[in-house]
Amino acid sequence: MEIIVCIKRVPQTSDAEVRIDSSGKSIVMERLTCDINEADAYALEQAVLFKEKFGGTVTAISLGTEDANESLRIALAKGADNAIRIRAEEFGYLDGSKTARILARAISKTKFDIVITGCMATDDAYSQVGPSIAELLGIPHATLVTRVEGGPDKLSVFRELEGGLLEHLEIKLPMLLAVQTGINIPRYASLIAIRRAAARQIDTIGKTEIGDADLTVDAEVESLFIPPVTKRAEILQGDPAETSEKLANIIKEKGLI
């Protein structure tokens, strides 16, 4: 099974303060650590699981600047056979649609039976790139996938709907899966594998190989702003002993327990 997995390196913002830079169009990246996008880590694991089950190779592709090599090396350390970086710096402004076009062109140059992506990136949160790639490649897709069974010619795919309901589909390969977090438990790379991957050369391709015709931007950010606050919690001040006493009193007064 020839498996392609798309990964994106993103700033880790869940526990960090996110500030807007002076352009007003992007965020301040210093002091933010970057890592493989959460859902993409599950996509990568799924790719390696398929390889272990059905044989074949895993190729990890990332559209990113040079630091994306670090995430691609993690992919190699976790079991990818090949890694390709598409030089994002050559393509200018990227929205979801343009990203999908570039990735689809890169993928169409390789042999593939299945393409796996995360269902959403935590930075721009478009949830658009996976199914758009599938459309451009002319293959079926399923998004929000939390379970897969069967294979290699046909997969039972379970999509997560609202309220925890699952939609069970049967899809023939070639296909694209946009996986949701929780579909598997991503493995840790061994130290030896990380060391070995560090020595690997990452192949890069750019405009020359991909071409830049018809790469229009569909949606361009004009400005970023901090979400307006409609409600703000009353923050209790003091050390843990004081805050917990204040909170306990509120709970008591309101008869909540």
């Binding site: 913002t13 869940s14 526990d15 303060e17 996110v18 807007i20 649609s97 999908a100 269902c119 930075d123 721009d124 478009y126 949830s127 658009q128 996976g130 199914p131 758009s132 459309e135 897709h141 399923a142 998004t143 929000l144 999509r159 609202e162 309220g163 925890g164 309901l165 699952l166 939609e167 069970h168 589909l169 899809i171 023939k172 929780g182 229009t216 931007v217 949606a219 950010v221 004009e222 702003f225 901090i226 307006p228 606050v229 409609t230 409600k231 703000r232 919690a233 009353e234 923050i235 209790l236 843990p240 002993a241 805050t243 917990s244 006493e245 909170l247 306990a248 309101k254 909540l256 327990i257």
Partner: protein, 323 residues
Amino acid sequence: MADILALVEHRQGLIRDITFELFSLGRDLAHKLNCKLIGVVLADDANKFTPDLAKAAHGLIVVESQIFSNFNSECYQQALSQIIDQKKPLIVLIGHTAFGMDLAPSLATSIGLPLATDCIDLSVEDGRIWAVRQMYEGKINAKLWLRESPTSVITIRSGVFGDKESHLEAEIENLNLEINQPDYRRFFEYVEPVTGDVDITKSDIVVGVGRGIKEKENLALVEDFAKAIGGVVGCTRPIVDAEWLPKDRQIGSSGKTIKPKLYIAIGVSGAFQHVAGMKGAETIIAINKDPNAPIFNEADYGIVDDLFKVLPALKTKLLEMKK
């Protein structure tokens, strides 16, 4: 002026709430732009839906086929492509739901239309569309402009636009379209969620635990706290993903919706998917060390501190009080 189309979302014989939110937004846009809001009903038996829908739209386009008894994004895409081609709408509104996320990107890509996903605000100025959507885990809003196009596809976040009352009488147009059921993608069945021994929707007190708990071993501290105050433990998605708690404890859009008297969020950042499942709680308390966590914009009371210090102290105080 070209009209606004809104796609009706239904599942297991019921219209989903997002439909009326799309209609509500669509009516507002239609009013401003002096055009019509047309609902698109793709169903095996549309009659059971049309009475409710007709009140909320200026028109309904109905395509009846056995193929639409269950959602299949391939069949929906074929139908919508043909309808867009015939009607040339300005905007196609689709829910940013499990259903819309599977459909909208490939639909827009296949006919070369611009797409903005997960929008929380939307307007048209001089024929150009701008939208507001969230980035960086809800910490930043972005205003973006779509490129000029006769038609644009917009997906809308659930629970943002509300469902305003409306007393229209939609004109109904039945269309016959040729739709092919693809042999490479087949709907098989819905699988209902499994319920375990604890039903978090039934408890007056729910203690929600998020990523801030750090290690599985630390869950015991939260379980112990919940037990002491007569509550049950629910959680956010990452806790279920890590298999620290079963799926039936997950609070949020893809898990359970709870409306307890008291919800205490412990180390929960407050992603909108989680908030969607707990905002109906009467009183919300949040304990989180990150003062910028969006949860503090939802909570009534907050403590910005290390949960491992606050939780034991709070438990002691509450137990003293009980005596």
